[in-house]
Symmetry: C2
C-alpha cells in the first residue's frame, strides 16, 4: 500500500532533534495548513455547483458546532436527527452475528480510497480496530452522487459518524481488523483533520520488517523516526501498538494495586515538593517555594518510610518521580511513574522478596491472561517472545551472581555494583541455567546501596537489599531500611549528606519505629521489558528526557 | 485520664508556625533527647543490680539489632527463639473465640500503668486497635519480678512483641477497642521510643467534647494544636481517626478506579513537568529544566485532552497537582491529589454529568458499606452526620441556583461566579428543598470558566460546564471542551494567554478531534467533606501550604 506521509523515508533514527529542525517542521506545518485552507475553499465551491436530490442531501454532511454543543434537540440539524434514538456500536464489536442489521459507528478515516464517481471505500478506525465502509451510489438506498463525492474528500484522521448495514464481504479482508463490511447509508463528518498531516498513522504503525520489505518494491514505505513520533505524539499514539501499550500499562498498575490491597496495603500519596534534597542520591530539580529553597522528590522514599512510622503498616504509592540526571540512554527518563511499596517486617527482609515474587508473578500472569489482544497488537509491530518466568521466582545472592559471571570468564568487583553489561550477561547465564528471564539478586554490597540500607548481620560488607531483573535489565530496587536513628545519622554522614536537611525524616525514628523495608519499580520499565521494547520513550505517554519537555 | 504530654493546654489553634517557634521546638526536642539518654543510663545500671532467675530472664528483654537484621536463625537471640515458628495475630483480630489460646502480638505501648512491683498493665496499640496486657509476677508462668520491672519501664510508643494467653476480663474494658485481655508470658522490646515525646497520641486522639469535659476536672487534658500535630505528623498519624482517614482516602481512590475501569476508561499518567504555564490560570511553581524555563502542572488538563486526541477515548488520572497560590483557607493546599477524568462525548455534555452522578453515588455507597469501622473512628473524634445524597443526583442549572438564592433574599450576579458564602447558602437551600447535600450545578456563565470551555448552543453567555458540591462546598469542576483549534486560539487570546506557549496543545486538535469533556476532583476535599471535617490539612498525609514544606 502506498504511503501518503509527508515524511520521506529516512535512515535517521537518532534520539535528538535540533531547534532548527523543530523550526523547519513548524514552518512545514504552517504551509500545510495554508494549503489545506485553499483545498477547503475549492471543495466548497465545487460541491455547491452540484445538483442534488433534496431528500438524499440529508444523508451526509458536516456536523455543525451548534449540533455538538446543543441540548439533545433532534431538530438542531440533520446529524442530530439521524442519530436520534440510536446507540453507537464500537468498531471492535462489529461481527458476523450483526449481518443485515443497521449500525451507527464513529471512527476516524484511516484510509480513504475513492474508486469512481459512484463508488468509494473508507476504512474507519476506532482505537486499534478498523472496518471497511463502502459508499455506493444507489437510488434504492438514497445514496446520491454528491454523497459519494462528499465521502471521497474526507481527509484522513477526520472523525465521522457512519450509519450503515453490516454485510459479509465477498472475499476475506486483509486490510482491516473486523471481518465484516458496512454498506454506508449516511455519513457525517464530526470533525475534520488537516488534509496534510505531519505523519501518517499508517506509516507509524508499520513494523520494521514491513518497511524493509517495501524497500525492495517500487513504493518504499516511510520510516517515521522517534523524534517525529514524539513531536506529534497525539498522532503517534493512534497506532494499534501504542493503543495497546497504554492499556497494558494501565493493567500493570491495576494488578499491582489489586494484589496489594488484597494483602492489606494502604494506597498513599506523599508530597512531591520537598525542602532539601530527597535522598541525597541523584540530581534533583530545584525550585523556589514561597521564598524557600525546595526540590522535587526523586522518590517517595523518605515519606513512605515516615508513613510506616505513622502506623500505616503496609503502604504503596503510584506517582511521578523526578530525576534531573543527564542520562541519554534507552532506559532513563527525567520524569517517570514510580510504583513504591513499604512495609513492616516481622522477622526478616525476605518477607519483602516474598511479596515481590508473589506480586510480579501475579502481574505477569494477569497481563498474559487479560491482555491477549493488546500483546498481539504490540507484537505485530514490535515482535517479541513472551517473558519467561517461574511460578516461584528465582533468588540468587549477589555473591552467587558474581561467581556465575566469573565462571563465564567475566571480571567483576565482588564489592562493587554490576554494570549494565554484567547485568545483561548475568541475565543470559540465568536464562540458560534456570530458564527464567525474571529473577531476584540479593545481599548487595553495602557500599553501592543508599545510606538508609540495613547491613547484613553476618557480614557488614553486604546489605539486606536486592535488585530484580527482567530480560537482563534492572527494574526493581529494594531493601530493609535502618530504623535506628543513631545509625541513620552516622550513615548519612558517611555518605556526605547534611543530616540537618533530613532531620524530620531521622526524627521520625525516635518515636518508636518498626523494622521495615520496601522497594520501588518504574512502571514504564516494567511495560518496556515485559514487551521486549527497545526504548522507554515508547512506554511513556508524553516522555520527558534531558532534551524533551514537550509536547 | 491524666495527660503526659509536654504540650500545655492551649487556646491557640492558628494555622501558622513561626521560624522562632520551630527553633524553640527543635531545642526542646534536643533537651528531651539528652534527658532520655540519661534516663536510659540510670535504668541500665538499676536493672543490672537486680537478681534474676536465669530461666525467667529469657522471657523478656530488648531485641538486638543483630536479631532484626539477621537471617532467620533461631539461635541469633532469645527473641528469635521465642517467635520461632509462630505467627503474629493482629490486635484487631483478638476476640472471645481465642480465649485460653496463646498468641503473639506486636504493637506500640499506648499506655503503661505500673501498679506494683508484682503487677503492671500495658495497653498495646496496633494501628487503631488496642488491647490490655497484664504482666503479673508468677513462678508458675515464669514471670519474674525483673520482667514486671522491665515491662514497667517501657516508654510509650515503643514497639514490643508480647506472647501471652487470651483471657476474658472480669469487667468489661472501657479503655481498649478489644474486649479480651492478654496474660503476658513474654515481652520483648523491638524498638524504643524517646521517653518524652513532643505530643502524646492519647492527647492527639481526644475529641473536643472530651477536652471540654476535662477542663471541668482537676486533670485538664492537653489540646494539641494543628501545627504541633503537623510538625510531628508521624505521631499525629497514629490516632485512630487519622488511621481511618487515610484508609478512607484509599477507598475513595479504589472506588473511583474500579467504576471507571469497569466503564472502559484507561488510567494514564501525564507529565508534571511542563514548558510554559499549564492552563494560564492559577499561579504556578516555576523551575529551570536543563536550561529552559519550565513549570509544574497545575492540572493534567492539557495532556488528558491530548490523550483523547491520541484515541485513548476515555481516560482518568490520579496524581499530584501543584498550585502556587497564596490561599490561606481551610480548603486550599499548594499540592494535592487530583482525580481527573476526560472522555469522548457522543451527543451531549450531559454524558459527563451522568458519569459524575453514577461514579460518586458509587463512591459514597462503597464508603458507607466497606468502611463502617473507619467512619466510626473518625466520628468518635470529629462527630459528623452521614452525608445526605440521592440515588439519582440532583442537577440544577446555574440560573435556577441564582433564582433560589434571590428568592431567599440574596444578591447574586447572574453572569458572575458564586462566592463561598453564596455556595454555602445555596447548599442549605438545596438541602431544605431536595434533602441532599450532594448536587450538580451546571450551565455556568462563560465568563467565569477557563478558555477551553464550550459555550452553550442556545446562549453564548453560558457554557456547557458544571460544578459539584458536597455540604455546600465545591469539590468537582467539569465541562465540555472546545475541540475546534481556531476557536481555542481565539478564546485563549481573549483570556490573555500567549498562544505560542500552548501551541502543541492547540495543534493536537488540528489532526481530527472528537467532541469531549471531563472533570477534576480534589481527593483530599472528597474525604474532608464526606466526613464533615473542618480543614483539608486533616486529609493530606503530609500537607503543603504556603507556609509548610515539611515534614
Amino acid at each position: 500500500m502506498s504511503s501518503e506521509s509527508e515524511i520521506p523515508p529516512s535512515e535517521e533514527s537518532g534520539e535528538k532533534i535540533s531547534k532548527k529542525a523543530a523550526k523547519k517542521e513548524a514552518a512545514k506545518l504552517d504551509k500545510l495548513r495554508r494549503r489545506q485552507e485553499q483545498d477547503e475553499a475549492t471543495r466548497k465551491t465545487a460541491s455547491m455547483s452540484l445538483e442534488e436530490n433534496e431528500e438524499f442531501s440529508s444523508n451526509y454532511g458536516d456536523v455543525t458546532l451548534n449540533e455538538l454543543q446543543s441540548t439533545a434537540d433532534p431538530k438542531a440539524g440533520k446529524w442530530r436527527e439521524a442519530v436520534e434514538g440510536k446507540d453507537w456500536t464500537d468498531v471492535s464489536d462489529l461481527m458476523e452475528e450483526m449481518v443485515e442489521s443497521e449500525v451507527l459507528i464513529r471512527g476516524r478515516v484511516h484510509i480513504n480510497r475513492p474508486t469512481s464517481s459512484k463508488l468509494g471505500f473508507l476504512i474507519l478506525r476506532e482505537s486499534g480496530s478498523t472496518v471497511q465502509c463502502v459508499v455506493r451510489q444507489s437510488e434504492k438506498t438514497k445514496v446520491g452522487a454528491n454523497m459519494v463525492k462528499y465521502s471521497e474528500q474526507l481527509s484522513r484522521e477526520s472523525f465521522v459518524d457512519v450509519i450503515g448495514v453490516v454485510v459479509l464481504p465477498k472475499e476475506p479482508l486483509t486490510g482491516t481488523t473486523q471481518q465484516v463490511e458496512i454498506q454506508v447509508r449516511k455519513v457525517y463528518c464530526i470533525n475534520k483533520a488537516l488534509a496534510k498531516l505531519p505523519l501518517s498513522v499508517e506509516d507509524a504503525a508499520r513494523s520494521e520488517a514491513d518497511i524493509e520489505k517495501s524497500l525492495q518494491t517500487e513504493k518504499p514505505a516511510a520510516r517515521v523516526n522517534q523524534d517525529t513520533r514524539l513531536n506529534h505524539r497525539v498522532l503517534d499514539l493512534r497506532t494499534p501498538a501504542n493503543q495497546a501499550i497504554f492499556r497494558l500499562q494501565c493493567q500493570v498498575e491495576n494488578s499491582f494495586r489489586e494484589k496489594l490491597i488484597f494483602k492489606d496495603f494502604v494506597g498513599i500519596h506523599t508530597p512531591k515538593l520537598m525542602a532539601g534534597s530527597s535522598e541525597g542520591g541523584s540530581a534533583v530539580f530545584r525550585l523556589e517555594y514561597k521564598g524557600q529553597p525546595a526540590c522535587l522528590a526523586q522518590s517517595p522514599q523518605l515519606h513512605k518510610q515516615m508513613a510506616i512510622c505513622g502506623d500505616l503498616r503496609r503502604v504503596f504509592e503510584v506517582g511521578p518521580v523526578f530525576r534531573a540526571e543527564d542520562s541519554f540512554t534507552h532506559r532513563h527518563l527525567c520524569e517517570f511513574v514510580g510504583l513504591d511499596v513499604e512495609m513492616e517486617i516481622r522477622k526478616h527482609y525476605s518477607e519483602i522478596m516474598d511479596l515481590v515474587d508473589e506480586l510480579f508473578v501475579f502481574i505477569f500472569t494477569s497481563l498474559n491472561e487479560k491482555c491477549k489482544k493488546e500483546l498481539e497488537a504490540v507484537r505485530k509491530q514490535y515482535p517479541f517472545e513472551p517473558l519467561k518466568f517461574l511460578p516461584k521466582t528465582l533468588r540468587l545472592t549477589f555473591e552467587e551472581g558474581v561467581q556465575m559471571l566469573k565462571e563465564a570468564g567475566g571480571e567483576v568487583d565482588p564489592l562493587g555494583d554490576l554494570n549494565t553489561e554484567s547485568e545483561r550477561k548475568l541475565g543470559q547465564l540465568v536464562l540458560e541455567k534456570y530458564n527464567t528471564e525474571f529473577y531476584i539478586l540479593h545481599r548487595y554490597p553495602k557500599a553501592v546501596r543508599p545510606f538508609y540500607t540495613m547491613t547484613c548481620a553476618d557480614n557488614p560488607l553486604y546489605s539486606n537489599s536486592f535488585d530484580v531483573f527482567i530480560r537482563g535489565e534492572e527494574i526493581i530496587s529494594g531493601a530493609q531500611r535502618v530504623h535506628i536513628p543513631e545509625i541513620l545519622e552516622q550513615r548519612a554522614g558517611e555518605f556526605g549528606i547534611d543530616v540537618k536537611t533530613i532531620s524530620t525524616y531521622i526524627d521520625s525514628f525516635r518515636y518508636g519505629a518498626p523494622p521495615h523495608g520496601g522497594f520501588g519499580v518504574g512502571l514504564e520499565r516494567v511495560v518496556m521489558l515485559f514487551c521486549g521494547l527497545n526504548n522507554i520513550r515508547k512506554t511513556s505517554l508524553f516522555p520527558r528526557d534531558p532534551q524533551r519537555l514537550a509536547p
